[in-house]
Amino acid sequence: MSERISSAGAVVRARLSRRQALKAAGAVAVVAAVGSASRPGAVAQQAKPLIVGRNIDDVITLDPGIAGEETYTVVLRGCYDTLVTTPADSTKQIVPMLAESWQVSDDLTTYTFKLKPDVKFSSGNPLSADDVKFSYDRLKNLVSQASYLMDPVKAVDIVDPATVRITLNNPDATFLGSLCSANFGVLDRKVVTEHGGTDQLGAGKGTDGATDWLTQNSAGSGPYVLTGYTPKDRITMSRNASSWRGVGIDDVILQSAPDSSALQQMLEKGDAEIAWGLLTEQLDALKQNPDIETASTPMLGFMAVGFTCDPTRNKAIADPKVQLALKYAVDYDGIRSLRDGALTPPSIIPVGLNGALEPGKDGYTHDPDKAKALLAEAGYANGFKTMMSASSTEIIGGVQDSLLAEKLQSDFGEVGVDVELDVQDEEIFRPKYRAGEIETVVGAYYVGTPTPYDLIDAWGPTGAVCVNRFKWHAPNHPATALFAEARKTADPAKQAALLQQAQRDLLKDCPFQVLIQPVFSYPYRNDLTGVVANPTWNFDVSTIKRKG
C-alpha cells in the first residue's frame, strides 16, 4: 500500500515541470479569453449571479454518492465531472468528459478509460485514476439509494495514474450510459478523506462522515464549486477557477420558491432568470410573455401509481387482481391531456430510449366495467378503502403529483374504491415512501443516465423501487431474464426487441402502472442564452450566458 502511494508520488513529481509549463500556457489562453470578453458592460453583466428559481425542498444531501430526486442534478452537473457524458441536446451518443478515450473488451465486461491530462480539482489537487477508484468504491460502499449504479461493477482498478479499468460482473452493453450518471461524479479523494470520507466497506454504516460536508461544499473538477446550502432557502455555487470547463456566469444561486405561483412571479418580475418546476398551466400562461423564452425536452421518465404488495398494509391493494383492476380504472387519455406534448408510455422505458413500447399498442386502456368485474372476482364488489400518498410539492415536467393523485381518487372512486389522500410535504412524504410505508402512491421517476437500465434497475422485478417501496421481489419473473439478456446484447435492434418483450411481461403483473411521460420545460428571461434542456441533468448552468 505505502509503496503504491510513494510510487504515485514520484510520478506526480516527475511530471511537475511539464505541468507547470502547461499551466503557463493555460494562463496565456485565459488572459486571451478574458481580453476578448472584457468590455465594461459585459463584466458587470457576468458579475451578477444567475438566479434559478426552484423549490429545493427535495434536497436531502448533495453528496454525489447518495444524492437523488431532482434538484441535485443541476448542482452535481455544475460541480462534478464524469468520465463520459452525452451531448447536451442528445441522449443517443456517448462523448468524452474526464476520459479522453476508452476501450471496451469484446465480451463487454472490461472498460478501460484513458483520463484527460491535467485536470484539476477545485482544491488544486490533480485528478488521477486514484480519485476515480475512490469515488466509485465509495458510491458502492455507502450502500445508498444511488449505490445500485455500482451493482454491475466487479472491480475498479488503477492501471496507471492516467488509466482506470472497470471490470463488470456480467457483460453489459449499456454501461457507458450508466457512467454518465451524476452519481458517478469524480470526487477529490484527498479533500473528501480529510472531511471524514472513506471508500472502504462499511462506509454506509457510519464510517464515512463526509456527507454533511459534501452537502455544503463540493470536491469536484466541475466548472463550479458548491459554496453553501441553506434548506428551504438557497444553494449557492461559484466559479471553480481551476476547472478545465468554462462558465458563462460566475455565480449561481438556486433560490427556493415556496410554491409554483411564487416561482412564476419571481420569473416574471425578474427576481429569477430561470424558473424550474412550473405547472403546465403556468407554462402556458408564460408563452404570452414576450420577455420569456422556454427550453423544453421530452422527459426520459414517467409518473406512475404504485401499490404495496404487503398485505399487512392493505390486504385489498396487495391482491394482484385488485392491482390489475385498478390499471383498468385509470383514465389514461384524461391524464395525458394534462400536459401539451405528453405521452402515455405503456411501460417503464420512456419514448426516446431504446426499447420503448409504442404508446397505444401495448398496455392498458380505460375500462371501468372490466375494472369492476375484476374487483368483484377478487371479492371486492363493494369496493374497499385505501390511502394514497403523494408529495404536495413535487412537480415533474409540469405535472403535479398531487393533481394526479386527485385524478386517480376520482377514477378509482368510479369503480367503487374509496381513496383517502395523504398528500404531504416532501419531508414527511419522502421518508415514508422510501421506507415503503405506503398503500398506494403517486410518484415520478426519470433517468439520471441515458440508458433504460437506470429505470429497469429501479422498477424491474428485482429493482429497488419494487423491492423497497412496493415490497415486490420477483427474481423468477420472465422479465428478469429478458432484461438481463438485453443488457449483454450489443446490437441495438436485438436489444430493443428483448426489452419490449420484457416490458410486455412486466406489464401483466407488476405492482405499479405508468401514467404519463411529461415534458421538461425551463422558461427563462430572454436576456440569457445557452439554456439547453436535457432530460438527465435538466440544464447545465455553465453554458448559460447573458446577452450583450
Binding site: 412564476q264 405547472l279 398551466e281 383514465d331 394534462l338 386527485e406 376520482s410
Partner: protein, 301 residues
C-alpha cells in the same frame, strides 16, 4: 346616509321602543331590524342558510365531478364561477363549501363556548385553588398567538378537518372561560343568589338557574362576533393544508388552490368572496345583537 342614521337614532331614543320591554326578544328583533347594516347581515346569513339547505338544487354539477376537457375554464354560462385544475365546477364547490365552512366555524365557537363556560363557571363558583389553577392554564393558552398555537396542535394531530376543529377549540375556550368566570364571580355576590343559597339550592341548580341566565347575553354577544373569526380561522388552517383533505370543497382550501394559479383569478376570488360575505354578515349581525342587548344603547342614547 349619516343623517338617516342619526334620524333613526333619534327615533329610537324618542321612544319607538318601550323603555322596559316585557317581550325582550321581540323588542330585540325589532331593534335589529331598524338598523340597515343589521338587515344586510341577517339577509346574507339567511341567504347562506338557504344555499346550505338547497345546495343540490343550486349547484349546476356535483362538486367532486371532474371534467378534464374543461380544466381552468373561465366563468361562463355553463360554469358561472369557472372551473378548477380538475375541471370541477367552482360554483358547485362554493355552494357545497358552505355546508363545510359555515358549520365548522359555528361548531368551533359553539364547542369552545360550552367548554369555556363549564370550566369558567366551575372556576368562578368554586374559587380558591381550582380557580387559581384554571386561570393559570388559560394564561398559558392566551400567551400564545392563537393561530400559531392552533397550527402547532393541528400539525401534531395530522391534517384532518376534525383535528383542525379540535385545535381551534383548544385555543378558543380560554376566552369564554375567563368571561364566564368573571360573570360568575360578580353574580354569586348578588343578594338573590345568596337568597337561593339560603333556600337550599344545590350547586347545579345555582349554576343553571341563577348564574347561567345572567351570563347568557354577554356570551351570546361574544359568540356572534366570534363566529366570523371562527370561520376565518378554520379556513386559514385549511388554507395552510391542515384542515380538510382533498377533494372536500372547503373555502379555505379552495383559496389555497386558487393562490397556486394566479392566472386564473376566479379560483381564489369566489371562495374568498364567500368567506368575506359570511364573516362580514356574522360581524354585522353580531354588532347588532351587541347593541340590542346593551341596555345603555337600548335605553336612552
Amino acid at each position: 346616509m349619516s343623517a338617516t342614521l342619526a334620524g333613526l337614532g333619534a327615533q329610537a331614543a324618542g321612544g319607538v321602543f318601550p323603555r322596559r320591554a316585557r317581550r325582550r326578544w321581540a323588542g330585540g328583533i325589532a331593534f335589529l331590524l331598524a338598523r340597515p347594516l343589521a338587515i344586510v347581515g341577517v339577509t346574507v346569513l339567511l341567504a347562506w342558510l338557504g344555499v346550505m339547505i338547497f345546495a343540490p338544487v343550486i349547484a349546476p354539477a356535483p362538486p367532486l365531478k371532474q371534467d378534464f376537457s374543461a380544466r381552468f375554464a373561465p366563468p361562463s354560462r355553463a360554469h358561472p364561477f369557472g372551473t378548477d385544475k380538475l375541471g370541477r365546477d367552482q360554483l358547485a364547490r362554493v355552494v357545497y363549501g358552505a355546508r363545510i365552512s359555515i358549520p365548522v366555524g359555528v361548531m368551533v365557537i359553539g364547542l369552545a363556548g360550552v367548554a369555556g363556560v363549564a370550566i369558567g363557571a366551575a372556576a368562578g363558583f368554586r374559587g380558591g385553588l381550582v380557580d387559581e389553577s384554571v386561570m393559570r392554564v388559560t394564561d398559558v393558552f392566551l400567551a400564545f398567538p392563537p393561530i400559531i398555537l392552533a397550527l402547532a396542535i393541528a400539525a401534531a394531530l395530522g391534517p384532518d378537518l376534525r383535528n383542525a376543529m379540535l385545535a381551534l377549540v383548544a385555543v378558543w375556550w380560554p376566552t369564554y372561560a375567563r368571561m364566564m368566570r368573571g360573570v360568575t364571580l360578580s353574580v354569586r355576590q348578588q343578594e338573590y343568589v345568596q337568597a337561593a343559597v339560603a333556600a337550599g339550592a344545590g350547586t347545579p341548580r345555582l349554576l343553571l338557574r341563577t348564574i347561567l341566565p345572567n351570563a347568557f347575553m354577554p356570551l351570546l354577544v361574544l359568540a356572534t362576533v366570534d363566529i366570523g373569526s371562527g370561520i376565518t380561522a378554520a379556513a386559514a388552517l385549511s388554507y395552510l393544508g391542515l384542515g380538510v383533505r382533498p377533494p372536500a370543497p372547503e373555502w379555505g382550501a379552495m383559496v389555497a388552490d386558487g393562490a397556486q394559479a394566479p392566472n386564473q383569478w376566479w379560483l381564489a376570488a369566489f371562495p374568498g368572496l364567500a368567506i368575506f360575505s359570511v364573516v362580514m354578515a356574522f360581524n354585522l349581525a353580531g354588532d347588532a345583537v351587541q347593541d340590542a342587548l346593551d341596555p345603555r344603547l337600548r335605553g336612552g342614547r
